[in-house]
Subunit: 254 residues, 6 copies
């Protein structure tokens, strides 16, 4: 990656990273004492608290099917961002963006869950953005996986998941990529995100397969080559995130 | 595409189409007498009424910028589907799916609009699904473009858009693609949609560039090759839709 | 009616109709492929899509009574009218006018239904105004009856209504009447509706009895004679609508 | 009316009234010390508190037209009825019935107001049912008129309405009528209301003209003769109510 | 108390009361014919209608515990105050103040109820302010107790509460106290309330024990001595209110 | 306090504290990089993130008065507690408890603010409970003061508050106290809170004056002596909290 950082002035990033370099990633497992699983995840200044709540039973529409359910809710504290936003609870409605991200997180986690192995149990992931600096949805997915894995481990220890069953069939993480001044870049903070011509969120399993590919032309429509460069970058980033997830889960709990 | 339809029994589609074949497409321009632009679009049994409402002025946050605004709202009649759903107006809230699709349609149309050329005017696209049989969001985008183009033409005739300005920089259409029993297929009706392992909605300009690529692993995560086959199909379908849009707009209004 | 059209210039209607003449009426039965019954009804430029959804079972408060339930919901697409209105789903509340009309349609249909013969089944009528040009509620009632009759026929064919039972005890239709410049007129389009001193909606059975009489002095209070003239006109109009309904239902389905 | 009370046992009313007799009516003017006008009205056990709030200025859509505005809101205390209902404020939505009655009261009062004479001022009538025993909407209209008249008198005294202008062009009152066991009856309490085959609310000016006629076939559709008998009764009742209103307003305030 | 009224000019109250004197208190028991218990209570011009609705059974979360439930809802008519407020039902949400007072009334009443003696029954107290002039929440608590006691008596007569069980273990009443120009005063009307430096609502049982003490420094923080003077006054006032409650309940019902 | 900790076994606390001892208190100033002021405060396992958002200008009703405005919003993450609660944004309404605590925090902070010195500026305090173990409202008030003080300091540095003006006239902190098994105790964690017969939240300025005293008999009404013991304890606790606040604010920011 040396060429892109030296030869091209347009590739210079405000935080000095190479185009294919993640921000400093930190995952604090078990940050909350109340939840069955939890993780405080940081992608640079983006900080998301993910908790996993395990309950026996499933929603009514799924009863008696012998399968479990995993869902997610995403939200942002009013002053997570640079200027304060009104609370959605005060406005009395959830905005479209919040809905959309909650649904994305839920789908992403369900892609690596064997709901039969989970049994008739429900896990709700709450992803609350405490501080926002771009990439909150991808940080949320990556952190939520850790909280989910902890909750599954807890459920096994409690005997709430059948002996020998393994609800987690893979890991999953996500990263944002985008094209800025014509250069594809990995893991965009807010200042880059607003300048990106094309913005893509990619959710990838530990085994390198795609779960979600969501690319949007914010500025100008993009061609097949640009799409391919972005996917390449996303695979580099999610492979590293998968490693960090595995290390975090391997460490003994406090 | 001959091999896949003849050699592989799994590729047989209930409606007899080849995997790379669109459903019968029909666009009735000017279906509504009230709106500045309108189109009733049909993708097989999917039927969406798109109207474009032109108003002078822009939302407060855009005032004085010399630019216009294009936005969209998507909704479904309660009995558009096989079983009746409660009205969102009765429930008092708009669901996540509705929000998500409204936002997608808005972004798609803005990608081919030169908001400076539009001047400080607003166009709202309403896409109401009268009958649903899969692909309602892609039909909505494709039909909304026709309604939008009609409203722009109307505004020019009325002198509400500056002489010589051309707000439309390209056309835009959308199609769904998916993998069913391992075979990539174009334009999925409901019965195929529910069986698809991977489902992708692709929004493409008349010049063949991507505006949105939204791929979701409904069943199993997908690999790079599968992604590429789906994008190939989507480009075939949207090229045909662009032709139909152009023909529709060329015809004199009744 | 000859005198009033020839001798009195005030009786001249913009669309050339005689004071006691309906607008062109069109009913397309089975317009929707999804619903158990449906009709697209047109009173001139007013266009309402009526669907009937049949479900087994009744609301909780009616369980075990051996009787069925018929109810209705009325709504208007945002650009059905000359200027766009905000969606009630977006506002998060249903307006008073919408509620009032939904209740009127429900009551009107229940007046000609034998709920015992229907058995413990529910039929919901959705009346969505696609294009509005006055008289939307009366068109909705008239079209909803056709959709209801279709759904009842379907239920009989499916064996969901007891053999020999006849839930429909009569037909029902509705029309608006009003006094404009002192002249009573039948079936008011929007331009006449806003000018009417008195406006009345009358719902009448096929056998010529009143189900609802709702007269409102928009401009000046009205006397007994005016009331009587309006009722006379309403009976002329609803008798013709009843004939059209019967013909529509007699035709074989496409 | 002698024949119907003596000869026909079905005409016997639980409270001993003749078919054409009102319940005891009581209007306490100035019941509230806070409002510009107020009246506590009783139709038998039905008890409605009506207050009129006068404010300078009109809603935005009416500004600069030189005309005033009169509107009304109707509501019921949760335990006004025999069993407690949930509060609409707690449910977060206003029911269809509430909306419908609020609109009816507003229209009725506007029919006897000269909005030009009122000037650019607004009067809001609040009609809160403290105890309900049938006929709450008609009691509300009748009491609201008294509160309105008081508020107009207050505004004149304050010089808020132009010298010599007379916003009130007539009085207005309302009564319910219905057919029970084939006998037309005046002013139905709850026990009669639920048994009525046909139920009609009639709003009449002091000069005997109709403002609203709302007849509904609760049980069986009704014919022209029945309609005429009901209108006769309504005119008897509203004439008496108009007298009581005039007497109440003539008395000096306590 | 003579010294404080004669020697200190600052202690002069607009209505001529001594600092430790209640406003005229009036309680009309059984004001509503519909509820199992009711009272119209007046503290000067403050007028609150309290009804008690008795229903068999308890909320789901309490089922099978052998205990009853008592809860309360407080609300204000829109024109109870000097200027009209929007209805909470129209705004679609209940304000913080309303919630807070409803909860306070509920807690106050539960403090003197033996829920086991009540059995699995629910009593809902509705306190609707018809006219507001300060102290509405304390009037509501005091009046609600009377309505509650009536409902309990009714339930005993109906055999809905076990023979020999006594759900009421004490009486409860409430009063406001405040410091105005340095002088502690009892039972503040609106004009005093807005001027108070410190405002306190105190709920006390008939046996003189505290149920709630809610003191707020509206103007300047207060010290221990001021707090003690206020509590002294509150005990004087609530002792008198307890006497009035007992007398009211001793009288035979009309 | 020695007698109660040694002689009385009932005084033994699960966490080994003396009755008059606070839990370990920690305040991390500047925890959020986005807000003008922030503090993460911990009372044992209770953890609240407080941010202060400074904006120029005041709400409309305060414009032109030359005074500023301070307000607060309190909320709890869904899994802050031992079992997950539904989000208020999802329910579409804010609960009574949330409203009540938000109002309490706002009043508490306004008691030590000179709104004239603040000028026409607004500071919104957001107090989000990340983990709850009793005393969340008192921790929120104590932490919010630190965030507020930071925001005021920032505003002075920015020149947004007039030179020489001092908006903060005192410090403010809060603590809960309660009677458990007859023993008054300071700073109750959740396990003690649910067992308390009487529960009191006391808000006190740095100079030892009361801002709010909110005592509630959860179990049995309390007498004057008990009230006095609780106030004594509260003054001990808030004096210590005031010291910690001062130390925190004296430290240089990281």
């Amino acid at each position: 990656m040396t060429p892109s950082t030296s030869g091209s002035p347009s590739a210079a990033r405000a935080d000095g990273r190479a185009p294919d370099q993640l921000r400093p990633i930190s995952i604090t497992r078990g940050w909350s004492k109340q939840a069955e699983g939890s993780a405080l995840i940081e992608f640079g200044n983006t900080r998301v608290l993910c908790t996993a709540s395990f309950t026996e039973g499933v929603p009514r529409w799924l009863k008696g099917e012998g399968r479990g359910w995993v869902t997610a809710e995403y939200a942002m504290l009013p002053r997570a961002t640079n200027t304060r936003s009104d609370r959605e609870s005060v406005k009395g409605r959830i905005g479209g963006r919040t809905h959309e991200i909650s649904r994305l997180i839920g789908r992403s986690l369900r892609s690596i869950i064997d709901t039969r192995a989970l049994g008739e149990n429900t896990i709700v992931l709450d992803c609350d953005v405490l501080q926002a600096d771009g990439g909150t949805r991808t940080a949320a997915i990556t952190g939520a996986f850790v909280a989910l894995a902890e909750a599954v481990r807890w459920a096994k220890e409690q005997g709430l998941v059948e002996l020998g069953a393994e609800p987690l069939v893979d890991t999953v993480s996500a990263v944002s990529v985008g094209i800025i001044d014509g250069v594809p870049m990995l893991d965009l903070p807010y200042v880059e995100d607003v300048r990106a011509e094309t913005d893509m969120n990619v959710v990838v399993t530990g085994s390198g397969k795609f779960v979600e590919v969501q690319g949007t032309a914010e500025g100008a429509p993009f061609d097949r080559d640009e799409l391919n460069s972005l996917l390449d970058l996303a695979l580099i980033g999610t492979a590293q995130l998968a490693d960090i997830q595995r290390e975090t889960l391997a460490e003994a709990l406090r």
